[in-house]
Symmetry: C2
Subunit: 299 residues, 2 copies
């Protein structure tokens, strides 16, 4: 795939990593970055991720002329203003793709703002990331071997979908498809809930007057369990609210499981406790061996 | 420190790693392994962790003669039978140390079984481990830079305490001290609870008829969050029940935090959601930078 011109709106970890990945395989010509802060655009320039950068306060939509691909990688709460500005200026040749972690809300906003451009929008969610954020954290290999879930609409043009698949494949990703509602339900369970559980554990501990002594005695299990608790508060606030309904269902299911476990422990029901743990350990070992999670699971 | 003879009762991950660590610095002469299964003893022999191995069914207590250190590293549920067999045969020169993850129950069993040997028992908990277990998983560097929390009794002989500190230091660990009750309370929060939360997430997902589709879309966050969910079911069942009271307190506190978060999400209270996440992210980043968790946190 050869992209003559790519416009990346939101040059953070996800957007800048795409640009670096395509650069490294010479799959892209010109890359224009658009973002909130001049400081981050300057870092993206210094990293070689973009050729020039415009802030959202500037007349950035003129850069849409001639773009093959417009990648929207801003926090989901900003999609409405970005799409609203983008739609009237979109070049007839462009496809629009995104990297948002929730999809039903993105599809809703797209329907309300993109108008006749809607068939050229291909929503997607790359299952990758880092607790770090910003252009500084960008990495040309962020997508390599990782999954990108596309959630096309009934209106999505087959040619746009094919080009979006090519784009993500050129970044090194494996592409799959899901219905947007199904995506949000599954991601609530395997990503959004674990993030919130990790945030909660740390927040609860540091709320204690003697929290420092707790953290001072934490080890490697705590470290891995809470790695994702260092993630961006703004982004995860948005995800929690954007995927509210699915997340409340998952929190409810999890809470029921937690209550059942507490009962087993309270009643010293060794068999029930061990059965739950054995079920999890067996499944987690098989999942780790499957290689679905990532390339470095063998560590 | 030079140990002429070390007896390791329980040659699993923790016990065999101690032996390998002391071997690698030539701090130990003879190492005798005692364990449940001949197969695991044979693997420990093959790894060079022990010089000879006896099963618990054999007359292993004769090997206590001349031992400088007896390391008990069996699951905590087996301490009573091990201590009962060990006490009458203990050599006057020996100290007894252990590597159990809970300490009040260990101290209780020690008081009931060790009799006049009690002052020479120094309870300890190394804050290290792996989701893998057995002699195959042993690693000479498992303790390097990690913390070992000793929970001495009022009766503990100062000389025994000093030798236990030397032992763990020789394995590469940093040694600290806590009261046993305080240890159990803190570890319930920073280790036992996160393990159970990780087990629960995986167990809940694989209980669903479409659980495979959920796990098939999980990524790096799920991988790290659930790494500890591959840990030994037997060991974690024992820990959950041994530290029952402290764990129920922690589950209750966590459940309250989860309920509060669900309320915030339900009411679309963006400020409250972000405040909780920001508190956690800030604390987790500072903890990661502190190096307390482990040497490889920078990854």
């Amino acid at each position: 795939m050869r992209i003559a011109k790519l416009v990346v709106v939101g040059v953070g970890l996800m957007g800048a990593s795409c640009a670096l990945a395509l650069r490294s395989s010479a799959a892209v010509g010109e890359v224009v970055g658009v973002g909130r802060s001049r400081a981050n655009l300057d870092r993206a320039l210094a990293r070689g991720a973009i050729d020039r950068g415009l802030t959202l306060d500037e007349d950035w939509t003129r850069e849409l002329a001639g773009a093959d691909v417009v990648l929207v990688a801003v926090p989901v709460a900003q999609y409405r203003s970005v799409f609203t500005a983008l739609a009237p200026a979109l070049d007839g040749r462009s496809i629009v793709i995104d990297a948002g972690s929730t999809k039903q809300d993105v599809v809703r906003v797209a329907r309300e703002t993109l108008g006749p451009c809607l068939p050229r929008f291909v929503p997607g969610h790359p299952i990758t990331g880092s607790e770090r954020s910003g252009a500084d954290a960008a990495d040309a290999t962020l997508y390599v071997g990782r999954q990108v879930i596309l959630t096309p609409l009934p209106e999505t043009a087959p040619a746009a979908l094919a080009r979006a698949e090519e784009f993500w494949t050129a970044c090194g990703a494996r592409v799959s498809r899901l219905d947007a509602e199904r995506h949000d339900r599954i991601l609530a369970a395997v990503s959004h809930l674990p993030h919130l559980l990790a945030f909660l554990l740390v927040a609860e501990l540091v709320s204690r007057s003697d929290g420092a002594e707790y953290l001072g005695n934490a080890g490697g299990g705590f470290r891995d369990f809470t790695r994702i608790a260092a993630s961006s508060p703004e982004m995860w606030r948005d995800i929690a609210l954007a995927n509210r309904d699915a997340l409340l269902v998952e929190i409810g299911a999890y809470r029921n499981a937690l209550d059942a476990l507490a009962m087993s422990i309270e009643h010293r029901d060794a068999k029930a406790v061990e059965a739950m743990i054995a079920k999890a350990a067996d499944a987690r070992r098989r999942w780790g061996a499957s290689g679905i999670g990532a390339v470095d699971d063998a560590s």
